[in-house]
């Protein structure tokens, strides 16, 4: 047993009781990181992490600060002062930010220790964990390296599910934390849009971008939200609403809670084994006093979630990434004119996938196409959000399987657009359309590969999301599961 296999609270208690020191903990996390064979890391910050561990060890460990001395990793699209940050794209090779993202600052101030930056789909624009400049990131649950972990927050998910660290930062624009969480038995939380500052997070599609994160249990997830959700003036979209005490309020009480099951999404999932586990979990919730009912949403609207997401995100991305031109930062390949300098930097710096997405985004914004593409997508988004808000008028949360299957094989899925967009494979983006708080938790394993359930609620109702998730955790008994201990947990 290693202390890294435990929850944040248990590690904190071990530190307080001097069963382990901060330096020992960080050294072990670094050793595990160096042995990683899943391509989880852009860089490992051995020197910086050890220096900070030694510095923190000189002071008394604060009783109430759970994050003091706890190692963690961050997706490489969070700005980190003095540490190269590329977004897993060649266009930013060598870029060293001059400031820390707000969430990095909050964690640093609390005494958490960043030990590595993690791989992602290039600039967070993908869902397979294959398009970053370092290649495929693998799923720690599959030693044969044939199944993906999913993206875009692939490296962060791999690091937590391999118990290298107890938590990791990611970002979620469509499902980029919640889908990999389902594939790797993690708790993946995307809170309400505007609850966590995005200052210093590379923008992809700001109307849907969220800071999100992975933990290995629900209580740690609530604890981390208390720290990350402090208001920040540097992000003009950061909410002024008073934050709750997400961890302190966590009870896991679902008595009288109304839970909706969207029939059309449920019916689009045909895996018998997963459906059985899901149905058992619904029965468990009913027995715990929750009211579970089926609701219906227009199937055409649900089918339009993916193309709507695709057009809006591509359009926003093409505009947001216009500053990546090799002039102010990133490799500069020269040229006879300033346009040629930029042309060379962008042609050589972006992968084919990213360029195709930029062209699609730009085309959908052209005045002659806007009505049929971009504006139509924004209108469809409105209808989709209205449909889910209607459900939330009556119900406290929607609970469904997070995906139609465990992780796909690398040769079975790609980021190329196709017409086979199963509702269940892409529906999670409704949480980004509406800014709804949404959590994925591990539900079970099929042939050794994990799959998860997803709970989503109305804006700023993180409490219901966490309470339901905690209750379900007592059903699955998969708290603190990792690829190192899952066989033992699964047997229970």
């Amino acid at each position: 047993m290693s202390y890294l296999d435990l929850s944040i609270r248990e590690i904190h208690n071990a530190l307080l009781l001097k069963k382990v020191t901060i330096v020992e903990l960080v050294k072990e996390a670094l050793e595990r990181a160096k042995k990683d064979d899943n391509n989880a890391f852009e860089c490992i910050l051995e020197k910086e992490a050890l220096e900070k561990a030694i510095e923190l060890s000189k002071k008394e460990i604060p009783n109430e600060n759970y994050f003091y001395g706890i190692p963690y990793v961050a997706k490489d699209n969070f700005s980190t002062k003095g540490v190269e940050t590329t977004g897993s794209s060649n266009v930013l090779s060598g870029y060293v930010p001059l400031f820390d993202a707000t969430v990095i600052k909050y964690l640093n101030d609390a005494g958490a220790i960043l030990i590595a930056k993690t791989t992602l789909d290039e600039l967070a624009m993908g869902g397979t964990g294959t398009s970053g400049h370092k290649g495929k990131t693998f799923n720690p649950y599959d030693e044969s390296h044939t199944h993906m972990i999913g993206g875009s927050s692939c490296g962060s998910a791999a690091a937590v599910s391999a118990a290298i660290v107890p938590f990791a930062l990611g970002s979620d624009t469509g499902d980029s934390v919640r889908k990999p969480a389902s594939n790797s038995a993690l708790v993946g939380m995307k809170p309400t849009w505007g609850l966590i500052s995005r200052f210093g997070l590379f923008p992809f599609a700001p109307s849907m971008d969220h800071v999100a994160y992975f933990t290995r249990n629900v209580s740690d997830s609530a604890l981390l939200l208390n720290l990350l959700s402090k208001h920040d003036d540097n992000d003009e979209t950061n909410s002024y609403k008073k934050r709750d005490d997400y961890f302190g309020d966590l009870k896991g009480d679902v008595k009288g809670k109304k839970i909706a099951v969207v029939k059309e999404i449920r019916n689009s999932i045909t895996d018998e084994e997963m459906n059985k586990k899901y149905n058992d979990s619904l029965e468990f919730l009913k027995n715990a006093g929750a009211i579970v009912e089926e609701v219906s949403i227009n199937k055409d609207l649900l089918t339009s979630i993916f193309p709507t997401y695709f057009i809006i995100s591509c359009a926003e991305a093409t505009s947001n990434n216009a500053n990546l031109d090799g002039v102010k930062f990133g490799p500069n390949y020269g040229g006879k004119t300033y346009q040629e300098v930029m042309y060379n930097a962008r042609t050589k710096g972006f992968s084919g996938l990213i360029k195709r997405r930029f062209v699609i985004g730009s085309y959908s914004l052209m005045s002659e196409n806007q009505h049929d593409l971009f504006l139509r997508a924004q209108k469809a988004r409105h209808l989709i959000v209205d449909a889910f808000n209607e459900v939330f008028k009556t119900y406290d949360a929607i609970y469904l399987l997070a995906a139609p299957s465990p992780a796909s094989k690398f040769d079975e899925a790609s980021d190329r657009l196709n017409n086979d967009y199963l509702i269940a494979d892409n529906y999670l983006a409704y949480g980004n359309f509406g800014g709804f708080p949404s959590i994925t938790i591990p539900l079970g394993f099929k042939n050794g590969l994990p799959y998860g359930g997803n709970i989503t609620s109305k804006p700023f109702d993180e409490k219901d999301v966490f309470d339901l998730a905690l209750k379900l955790e007592s059903f699955t008994k998969l708290s603190d599961v990792s690829c190192l201990n899952y066989k033992e947990k699964e047997a229970k």
Partner: protein
């Protein structure tokens, strides 16, 4: 909607200041046909064209001003640290005129 062909896509890419391989343009053309089909279907959803476009999930209007706190901006050296072509304290680009 503007008709899509390889030349239109090449022009769009060049306006975004990059080029792609022929294979990528072919792939993109296929993707555009899929997008057009999907958006024609979305156009048939009842009420979609009468709905207002949604930019943000909910109202994010802020009606208060931040405190006017003076702060020190980045130094010139820091700002130029990530630029690869610098001369006399400025980013150097090819002559415009």
């Amino acid at each position: 909607m503007k008709a899509v062909n390889k030349d239109v896509l090449k022009d769009a890419a060049n306006r975004l200041l990059f080029d792609m391989s022929d294979e990528q343009y072919d792939m993109l053309l296929e993707e555009f046909h899929i997008i057009q089909t999907q958006f024609e279907l979305i156009g048939k959803i009842k009420g979609v064209d009468e709905t207002t476009p949604m930019t943000f999930s909910f109202d994010v209007t802020i009606s208060l001003m931040r405190e006017d706190v003076p702060s020190t901006p980045l130094s010139r050296d820091e700002v130029l640290k990530n630029a690869k072509s610098v001369q006399d304290g400025q980013i150097k680009l090819p002559k415009v005129v």
